[in-house]
Amino acid sequence: MRHPLSIRALLLLTVGVLTALIALLVANEVYQQWERLEKIHTLKTATLVSDPLFDVMERLSVERDMAYSLLFNDDPAFAQTLHPRLENSRKEADAALTATLQALSTYDFPGLKEQIQTCRTQFAALQKTRRQIDNALTLPLDKRNPTLPDRWFDEVTAMTLQTENVWLEFIKHFREVDPVVSLQMRFKYDLRAIMENSGRERALIGRLIVQNADATPTERAKLLRWQGAVDEAWIAADSLAEQGKLYPAITLAFKEAKSHYDNVYGMVQDIFYVPGTQHGANYPFAADFWFELSEETTDSFYELKNAVIKETHGYLDALEARAQRVILWHAILLILTFMLCFYSFYVITYRVIRPINGIVAALLAAMQGKPVSMPKITNAEDEIGKLAQVLHAFQRNANLLIAIVASSDDAIISKTMDGIITSWNASAERLFGYNAAEMIGQHINLIIPPERRKEEQQIIAQIRQGKPVEHFETMRMDKHGRYIHIALTVSPIRDATGNVIGASKTARDITARKKAEAELIHYTHALERSNRELDDFAYIASHDLKEPLRGIHNHSRFLLEDNADKLDAESVKKLNRLVYLSQRMERLVNDLLYFSRLGRQELAIQKTDINEVIHDIENTLDHFLVEHKARISIPVPLPIITCDKPRVTELFRNLITNAVKYNDRPEKTVEIGFLSTYASPQGIPYKNVFYVKDDGKGIAREFHEEIFRIFKRLQNSTGIEDGTGVGLTFVKKIVERHGGKIWLESEPGRGTTFYFTLEGSNDDTAKII
């Protein structure tokens, strides 16, 4: 699979997308929190603005009670007590209402304006009724308009309800903001119902006390209905307080208010609420005491309401603070995310991508055969750093390889399996005449003579199987079409998975070697011919020289035999001398022939026990040894070696014979031994040395080399039994044929020791087993 994007792009894209996602999420959260904060703020303002409506309703309620009771009583003392309260309530209600409506009219909610307008209209009507009440209160009881109190009652009630409508109309725009606050609003609404209905009860009860009258059945029904509404509202309020999380903040105020209401209204339960009871003027307390009592109840309601408002405001403050906190934390998170994003950009760009690009560039350079120079990467501890360290090591190896390839005397070429050349070193340039620029990308056939292309296919077939081709000698063609003898070594190049993807070829120019080989063959043939000629010469010479020799010998004999009586002593002596010389000459000719064969014939190598060899010689020479009073001594058993047994036997026989012959002692000893290591007096170390030691005359230093020459004797021939002087020449030849060396150490008068080895570099020659 091919990736269209670079790693850097991919990494940065990933980081970018992740950052953008986080930023989006965080920003969304911040936006929502901000919006919520706005709403909470608005809600808070709204409650601050609208809560005074409760005061309005409360004051109106108190005013309703006061006015209602005063209208039924003309006792100046009573009026004195209630009137200031009435005035006070009226003033407070008016102020609160005016201010609140003013504030609310700034909100541009549909329907709200109409409600406010209605409220204002009703308020204006209420002002008128107030003036009528004020007038009526100046009149005695009987002069007062009897319908006024109830009309007043209804109008205030309506006004209160309208105020409530305004509140409801206003707060319905904020119900959705927060469920808890919404519940608290509903609690306030229920509390408002308690206050309104209990207010009505209080007003009616107050009037009955003032009038000192019993409740009519209608009035009693009203009282019971209002009481029912209050009880219902208490239950609802309790549930809402629970749901609206108002407990425990308002627990005390709630209990206080409820117990106040239960106690005060419980006190008058039997008097006003139970049908059939007639009390007339026998109320247990005066009207002003009732109002005092009921006012305490109102105050406790008031406290409860304030507690709720306070709680709502506290709750909203907490919400606000929380939203602000959330915004702050999200802002910090956003900043951190961006910082992380920038850090990632930095790391990806400067610590990952840039070093990798540097390494890639260096490796590309290496591929083009230039010296590799790895970028310096300082962050040695991370993965890239380790990669760089490994590549530094690689660089050293690569530079070494490049140097080797560049300086190699062999042409080093690499190519693909299709034969396309991928590298071409300096020696290839020298050998084939093409430079690297000309050849890289070209087909290898360019240097293969057409008649040898089949051979290249066979090489490729073998390489394809993963088998190298070694030292394959063939011909290639240089730029000028000249044929060159080369030795090819071709090795497969494998990819990381082990597949053969190309071949590396080492071509050695073997033209000089081929020429030398041809010359060598020529010289070898010439030498063989020469040897054969020499052999033939020796053979022919021996044959042809021997024939006249036999004639001279025989005729001398015949002369001696046939003419013995005619010959004088001097002639006989000369003829005998002639016989002797012809015999001697024959031995010389035979030795010459034998010597030439020694060098010509192959050695017959076999396992040979040298002890046995010496024993055989002793047997053969038995007579000779006895005659010369000679003894052969072998201090330590001799080894078994591989050698040409007959030749080695002759070697020892010659040395033993010499040792006995050139010895003047009456009793002679020849010692034969073997030394696994030996150092000559000159300090040259030798291994596996045989020696033959005599106690004879010794040989002067100046003859140490000369004695090995053919037909060289240090003494003049004195008798027919003396050798021709070729013995040591044969010995030397046999030793040399076995790849060994022979030398001697001698002290005149004390004896001579011949040392020799039979081991040479040639595997066919003697070996110690």
Binding site: Y539, S542, H543, K546, E547, P548, L549, R550, G551, H553, N554, H555, R557, F558, S582, Q583, E586
Partner: protein, 145 residues
């Protein structure tokens, strides 16, 4: 004079191009007490001619030199040993050569004995004595015809 032995009527044919060698051989045969008539052929051609001539008796032994001009000893030996009438005649190679190749070749062609010519005349006498002992006194040859 002792009674002549029966074999002494069979001639000995000496084939040698060297007059000197022939003379030495003839003399050595005499010294070895062989009194057979001695025929001399100085070449392969004349030897074969002598052998094929009806007038000549069949020889009891042929002493054959190897190195001769014309038909040499090897060829002569081959012809004798391929000739039904002649092949039973013992042929002793008497030559200067001690080359193993010659020795092997001659035995392969049917030579009965191979002797290197001794340079020493005493050696030659000794050789002839032994030949006499073996071929004329010990060895039994197939009867003619």
């Amino acid at each position: 004079m002792t009674q002549p032995k029966s074999y002494e009527s069979q001639p000995i044919l000496v084939v040698d191009d060297s007059e000197d060698d022939f003379y030495a051989t003839e003399r050595a045969l005499g010294k070895a007490n062989l009194h057979n008539p001695i025929a001399h052929a100085s070449s392969g051609e004349s030897a074969l001619e002598w052998l094929k001539s009806k007038t000549n008796p069949k020889p009891g032994l042929i002493l054959l030199d190897l190195n001769m001009p014309g038909i040499d000893g090897r060829k002569t030996l081959e012809i004798i040993k391929h000739n039904g009438a002649l092949k039973s005649i013992p042929v002793v190679i008497l030559t200067t050569s001690d080359d193993e190749r010659d020795v092997e070749a001659c035995y392969a062609l049917g030579a009965n004995t191979y002797i290197q010519k001794p340079v020493d005349f005493d050696g030659l006498i000794e050789a002839m004595k032994r030949l006499k002992g073996y071929w004329f006194e010990i060895a039994l040859l197939p009867k003619e015809g």
